[in-house]
């Protein structure tokens, strides 16, 4: 057993009365007061998340773009500086090592943010794929902290954080899945308009030493707007409503991108990349669907999806009573023959069969 790790914001969480939970070897705030209140705050105002457990890699060199086209499933070389892109790191057999967001910092410089629990696997895979000269990959996870401001009030809040200066792009011109340079207390700050909640929001990458000051300044700026600190429990129900995959649930080494509905992320017309030729799944492989049910009783990860007669046709990967919608929702891998929208299936909730309808993802979409 390795010792639990804490982010640079541990003391802030403790003084806010957070309950902690293990996540990928990290002790992270699961909630501060109430999962539901934190969830609602993000949908209606804003929430502040510590996501410093996530891993960061810097890719640098004249051939960095070509290297990433080979190492990742998407086409990164055509992305403009200032943009961000969701991508996948595939194994040779097309299984998913991790899902990542790639930010183009400069023509020859990229930032990759990956899941905390996959840090070693991502680092190893990126190193193995360094066949192109003049590219370096550095794991800079320990040098940075990452906090997320998510919710409709995010822009107003982030624009008012005391200590943020030199913002390169005016707020009104910052697009979703783009980033801008700034400074916090004179030190470099990266402001990305990305997130994992289905709301507008920002992720702020700051030097680890400055993280507590940025956390405090963000809470202070956000208070008049209804910002509250929010934990991983709310983050999970928010991303589930938004139909976003979570590694270990909707994504794994045993799941091909097409099964998880991520075929569009794979640029299969690229010359060569790791996983090419294996990224498509067998035609009878189970596929990811959304399921919506009535009542209050939720299907949970691992529960079987069955026919009315009780034959297993799939398994839930994530499920909860949706705080926003008020009814149970789930994502599940099910047989393609039952995957059409509108199909009625049943959830085996600890022995009780609950009817559910195959539903398009996401369950929740924010108003523009």
């Amino acid at each position: 057993m390795t010792e639990a790790r804490y982010t640079p914001l541990r003391e802030r969480h403790e003084s806010l009365g957070a309950s902690f939970t293990d996540f990928g070897g990290w002790q992270m705030p699961v909630r501060y007061t109430s999962d539901l209140a934190e969830h609602r705050a993000v949908r209606e105002a804003a929430g502040l998340f510590d996501i410093s457990h996530m891993a960061e890699f810097l890719v640098h060199g004249a051939d960095a773009a070509a290297y990433l086209d080979y190492a990742l499933a998407g086409r990164l070389s055509t992305m403009s500086v200032g943009k961000a892109k969701y991508s996948l790191l595939l194994a040779e057999d097309g299984g998913i090592i991790d899902d990542v967001i790639v930010y183009r910092l400069a023509e020859d410089r990229f930032l990759i943010i990956s899941n905390a629990g996959n840090r070693d696997a991502v680092g190893e895979a990126l190193a193995e794929r360094l066949r192109i000269p003049a590219v370096t990959v550095a794991d800079v996870s320990d040098e940075y902290a990452l906090i997320a401001v998510q919710g409709p009030a995010s822009e107003a809040i982030v624009a008012e954080i005391a200590g943020i200066t030199d913002v390169s792009t005016p707020w009104s011109e910052q697009k979703y899945y783009a980033w801008t340079d700034a400074r916090f207390l004179g030190e470099p700050l990266l402001i990305a308009r990305t997130g994992y909640t289905g709301e507008d929001g920002f992720e702020l990458l700051v030097r680890a030493a400055d993280a507590p000051a940025l956390w405090d300044a963000t809470l202070a700026a956000g208070e008049p707007h209804g910002l509250v600190p929010a934990g991983l429990a709310a983050r999970d129900t928010l991303r589930l409503e938004a139909g976003m995959p979570l590694y270990g649930h909707e994504l794994s080494l045993d799941i091909k991108p097409a099964q998880a509905g991520l075929g569009r992320v794979v640029a299969s017309d690229k010359d060569d990349f790791v996983g090419k030729g294996s990224a498509s799944a067998a035609s009878d492989a189970r596929v990811l669907v959304g399921l919506a049910a009535e009542g209050k009783r939720a299907g949970r990860a691992g529960y079987a999806v069955v026919t009315e007669g009780g034959t297993a046709i799939g398994e839930i990967s994530s499920g909860a009573l949706s705080p926003t919608l008020g009814h149970p929702i789930a994502m599940a891998f099910i047989d393609p023959s039952s995957a059409e929208e509108g199909t009625i299936v049943h959830l085996d909730v600890r022995g009780t069969k609950i009817p559910a309808t195959v539903t398009a993802l996401p369950f929740y979409r924010r108003k523009k």
């Binding site: 699961v30 999962d35 539901l36 969830h39 429990a233 009783r297 939720a298 909860a320 009573l321 600890r350």
Partner: protein
């Protein structure tokens, strides 16, 4: 406020309030889950309770308490018969978090006199949660 020192507890984080036997209506225990359990579960969003009249024996699963994040089972802590279930908590499960020892009670069970004597007292229960 409930006097927590007057309650009995189980290692499944349930509390039991035992009625005064001098009322002559037999021994009735009111059962709920502790604040510790409610905090660990997070926001409770669904409660399923047993039928009135059900005979229960210790260890049997007689209900479920679901939060956004997880499912907790309600275990029968004593031998007895279910007299009453708290319909208010079925309608509004957040009572379990808000008032676990008062409005968030779950069931009332009639038991034989002394049927809850073997359970934990407050001191032993607090030691358990701090252990």
């Amino acid at each position: 406020m409930t006097d927590l020192n007057a309650l009995k507890y189980t290692d499944e984080h349930e509390w039991l309030a035992i009625s005064d036997p001098s009322t002559g209506s037999g021994t009735v225990v009111t059962i709920g889950i502790t604040d510790y359990a409610a905090d660990k579960l997070g926001d409770v969003v669904f409660v399923e309770l047993p039928q009135v009249g059900l005979d229960i024996t210790p260890g049997a699963v007689i209900g479920e308490i679901e939060s956004t994040k997880s499912v907790g089972e309600l275990y029968a802590p004593v031998v007895g018969r279910v007299l009453e279930v708290n319909e208010a908590v079925v309608d509004d499960p957040s009572l379990v978090n808000a008032e676990p020892f008062e409005a968030g009670w779950l069931i009332k069970v009639s038991i034989a006199e002394g049927g809850a004597d073997a359970l934990l007292d407050r001191e032993a229960y607090v030691a358990l949660t701090e252990g």
